[in-house]
């Protein structure tokens, strides 16, 4: 770490004599009035309430040390303003670059068997989950979170595999939940059957949040 030593006139005491205030501030400075620079600046940072201390208002050394900080602060404010303007930042190309990498990477996940045992046909759990979440969200006001698919050791009537679905939902407030859950189960089964050819056993539903949709009525539109 670069040591920026003090101007020689600043040393009225050893900088190491009193470290009780800010732990490892080894290059602290004791002002001629006896106060530690770090303490004076700390008070400055806490705001004007601390000017209740009459010493800080009257001591020329304390005031001078704070004036330097005030001057710095005004340049800091300008730099802050200059670097604030990212509200209009267009994330499209950044998102694109990241997603190009993300889509190429294989996430370790569970493959689920489709069809009969002799058929070598599999779908990744994450891909099937995407379809089932979308089906759940076709029920108005529902947002789907975690969606896990667990293969069961039983088969459907034709010898094909059966999976159990565990789905977490954010449900709209003031809607009877048992009916909502039935509706979601129906949509999930239908999509599993029609879009994936996957036989579904139980569909466990956990409502993890209730969303008050009165505030934003556009909710339910999913990307």
């Amino acid at each position: 770490m670069t040591a920026h030593t003090d101007p020689s006139d600043a040393h009225s005491g050893s900088p190491h004599t009193d470290d009780t205030h800010t732990g490892d501030v080894h290059d602290d400075e004791r002002l001629p009035c006896g106060r530690l620079l770090s303490q004076v600046w700390d008070d400055w940072e806490r705001g004007p309430a601390d000017t209740a201390d009459p010493h800080l208002r009257t001591c020329p050394h304390c005031r001078r040390s704070v004036r330097g900080l005030d001057e710095l602060e005004s340049a800091v404010r300008d730099l802050r303003d200059e670097t604030t303007d990212t509200s209009a930042y267009d994330t499209t190309s950044l998102t694109q670059r990241v997603m190009d990498v993300v889509r190429l990477e294989l996430r370790p996940g569970r493959p689920l068997s489709l069809g009969e045992p002799a058929e070598d046909l599999w779908i990744m759990e994450s891909v099937a989950a995407r379809t089932l979440r979308a089906a759940a969200e076709s029920v108005s006001g529902v947002r789907a979170g975690s969606c896990r698919l667990l293969p069961l050791d039983i088969s459907d009537g034709t010898g094909g595999p059966v999976v159990e679905v565990s789905l977490a939902l954010h449900a709209p407030a003031r809607v009877p939940l048992p009916e909502l859950a039935d509706q979601v189960r129906g949509r999930v089964r239908e999509a599993a059957d029609r879009e994936l050819g996957l036989a579904i056993g139980a569909v466990d539903i956990r409502v993890t949040d209730l969303i008050d949709t009165t505030a934003d009525s556009q909710e339910g539109e999913t990307r």
Binding site: H4, D24, D78, L94, V98, M124, A129
Partner: protein, 194 residues
């Protein structure tokens, strides 16, 4: 869902709920959920990285790496903090590594000065302020990497000492000490150039 985007400030309960939901989905491999999170959080992270590194193109690279890193680590994330806070930490660390890897000479003048005022008729106050900002940018290069990071998070990003300690992975006392040293170095450097 548009607008339901929780960045570090202001706190937005609904945005946080939506973030948590998208984070779970992304952790289970839902790429679209991850893209939505990224669109939400990228602007704030770009701002952070630009302040830490001093230029936009390096900042974009750092944020890109941070997101790719996050995607790989998401399955172990388990929503221990908010996605925004987690990304803030990953991005800060990434920037620290970039700063550490810089050759000392290369940092001088690398800060991308704002264009000089074109008309001499500009009000004196503006010119003066720009000079001060330029001096400040140059003075920032005198700081150690750790001092610079703590100072930027505190002064430009307005974070609490507690938050910075968590983001940088050091104690609050160490953050205070670094910010103090940075202020000391900066006030002296700025004063000397007046």
């Amino acid at each position: 869902m548009a607008g339901a985007c929780s960045q570090n400030a202001p706190p937005d309960v609904q945005g946080e709920v939506e973030d948590a939901l998208l984070t779970v989905r992304a952790a289970e491999g839902d790429e679209d959920a991850f893209a939505a999170l990224m669109q939400c959080h990228a602007p704030a992270l770009i701002r952070l990285a630009t302040r830490l590194l001093g230029n936009r193109s390096e900042a974009e690279d750092a944020v890109q790496e941070a997101f790719i890193n996050a995607w790989r680590r998401l399955p172990e994330f388990h929503n221990r903090s908010s996605f925004g806070t987690w990304m803030y930490r990953i991005t800060t660390n990434r920037c620290l590594n970039v700063l550490r890897a810089r050759k000392p000479v290369a940092t001088l003048e690398a800060a991308g000065d704002p264009p000089a005022p074109e008309h001499s008729a500009s009000p004196a106050r503006i010119a003066e302020a720009r000079d001060a900002v330029r001096e400040l940018r140059e003075a920032l290069d005198l700081l150690s990497v750790e001092q610079r990071a703590c100072w930027v998070l505190r002064e430009l990003d307005g974070q609490s000492y507690e938050f910075i300690a968590d983001a940088v992975g050091i104690s609050q006392e160490a953050v205070r000490a670094r910010v103090f040293r940075a202020r000391r170095c900066l006030t002296q450097a700025m004063g000397a150039w007046r």
